[in-house]
Symmetry: C2
Subunit: 222 residues, 2 copies
DNA sequence: TCCCAACTGACCAAACTGGTCAATAATTTT
DNA sequence: AAAATTATTGACCAGTTTGGTCAGTTGGGA
C-alpha cells in the first residue's frame, strides 16, 4: 500500500497549488509529511511554518512559493489526505462479503496498519476533526461528514442479518462486535507502544483477534 | 461530588508551594483550573503562563510568587490531581460487590461524569500521560504506574468468576464487557457533543447501558 | 548568451516567551 | 496610629518565534 503517494486528483489542486503538484515527487512527500506532523502535534494555530520547512529541508520562501499562506497549506493537506484515505484506505474494503465479521476485521486491520505505518496521517486527521481554530474550522466540517459517510456508511451497509440468532438485537450486537475489535486493537497497539518492540509480530495480533471473533460468533450467530 | 475541592493532603505541598495552600480557596480553584486547561490544550512546552494568569484573573508576578517556575507548577498540578482522582474518584468504587458488571458499570459512569463535569481534569491527565517534554516526563512515569495500579488493579480484583458459563474464557469475556461499556459511553458522549443538548439526559444513557449489560449477561452468565 | 523558473535565507515588525522586581495595597502586629 | 509584614500588581527584561516578504542566486533549456 503506497499510501500518500498514489492520489493525483488534479481537481484537488485548484489553481493556487498547481506549482506544488509539478515538483519532484519525493520533495512533495517530504513537505506533506513534515506539515501534517507539525499540524497534528500542535494544531493549526500553534503549528510553526518554520518547523515545517526545517523538517522538510526546504527554504522558508519556497513553502510560500507553493502555498500562498498557512491556511491554504492546511486546507490543501486536509483535502489531500481525505482523498488519500477515501481512495487507498476505504477502497480496500471488500463489500462483496456480507459477513459483518469479515468486514469489521478488515477495517480494524486496515486501521491498525494505517496507525502503524502512517501515524502522522492518522494523527493529522484526528486532530483536524477536533480542530477548534475559527480560521479553518468551518471549512472542514462538510468534508468530514462526507468522509464519515463514505467510510462507516459502507462498512455496515447490506450486512447479512440472517446469520444472527433470532432473539438477538442486531444493531446492538454489531456495536458490541465493533467495540470489541476496536478495544482489542487499541490494547494491542498500546501494548506494543509500551514494549517498544517494533518488530511487527502482527501474527500474534491476527490470531488473537480471531479468537475474539470466534467467541463472538459463538455468542451471536446461529 | 465536590471533585477538585476536597483533597487537602498537606504532604503534597512540600515546602515550596506552602504559600499557595494558604490562600483563598476560590482563588486556588481559579488558578488550578486555568492551569490544567492550558496545559491540557497545549502540552507542557507550549502552554503559556501568560494565558494561565489571564484566565485565572491574577497577575503574572503572583503566579511566580506561589510557584517558583513553570515546571514546579506543572508537577504540583499533576500530583494534586492524581491525589484528587485517587481519593474522590476511585474511592467511590464499591469493592464489596464482586460482580464484574456492577463494578464496570460504576467505573464507566464515574468516568462519564468526570469527563462531563470536569473535562479539563480528564484532558489534563490524559495529556500528561502522553507528555513528551523531557523536562517533566521522567517525573511523571512513577506516579502514573501508581495510579494505574490503584485503579485498574482494584476494579478487576477478586471478581466472582463462578457466575460465568463454564466454557467461557473469563479474561477475554471481561475484556469484551469492558470494551463494550467503554465504546458505549464514548458513543454516548460523542453523540451529546455533536447534538450539544447539554441537558444531561443521563436517564437515557443509564437505561440504554443496562440493555447492553443485560445482553452481555445473557451471553456470558450461567 | 539570454531567459525564466526554482529556490534561498536574511530580514521584518509584531507577538510572545518565562521570569524579575520595585512599587503599591492590604492586613497584622505593635 | 504607626510600624512592620505580607499579598499583589504590571511594567519591564532580553531572548525567541511568529507568518510572511523579497532581492537576489542558481541552474537548466534555447
Amino acid at each position: 500500500m503506497k499510501l500518500t503517494e498514489l492520489v493525483n486528483d488534479k481537481k484537488e489542486a485548484g489553481l493556487l497549488t498547481s506549482k506544488f503538484l509539478t515538483i519532484d515527487h519525493e520533495k512533495q512527500q517530504r513537505i506533506l509529511n513534515a506539515a501534517i506532523k507539525e499540524f497534528a502535534q500542535k494544531g493549526y494555530a500553534n503549528a510553526s511554518t518554520n518547523e515545517i520547512v526545517k523538517e522538510a529541508g526546504i527554504s522558508k520562501g519556497l513553502l510560500f512559493h507553493y502555498f500562498k499562506n498557512k491556511k491554504e497549506l492546511y486546507l490543501y493537506l486536509y483535502n489531500h489526505f481525505v482523498n488519500v484515505l477515501k481512495n487507498e484506505f476505504f477502497g480496500e474494503i471488500n463489500l462483496q462479503d456480507r459477513d459483518i465479521f469479515v468486514r469489521l476485521k478488515a477495517v480494524t486491520m486496515l486501521k491498525s496498519q494505517l496507525i502503524k505505518k502512517h501515524p502522522d496521517v492518522f494523527n493529522f486527521m484526528m486532530s483536524a476533526y477536533q480542530e477548534s481554530s475559527v480560521e479553518v474550522k468551518s471549512e472542514l466540517d462538510q468534508r468530514h461528514r462526507e468522509l464519515l459517510q463514505t467510510s462507516y456508511g459502507t462498512v455496515f451497509d447490506n450486512i447479512d442479518t440472517e446469520k444472527f440468532k433470532k432473539d438477538i438485537d442486531i444493531t446492538r450486537a454489531i456495536n458490541i462486535i465493533s467495540w470489541t475489535l476496536e478495544g482489542f486493537s487499541n490494547q494491542a497497539m498500546e501494548r506494543e507502544r509500551l514494549a517498544k518492540h517494533s518488530q511487527a509480530d502482527f501474527t500474534y495480533d491476527f490470531s488473537e483477534a480471531d479468537v475474539y471473533i470466534e467467541q463472538l460468533k459463538v455468542l451471536f450467530y446461529k
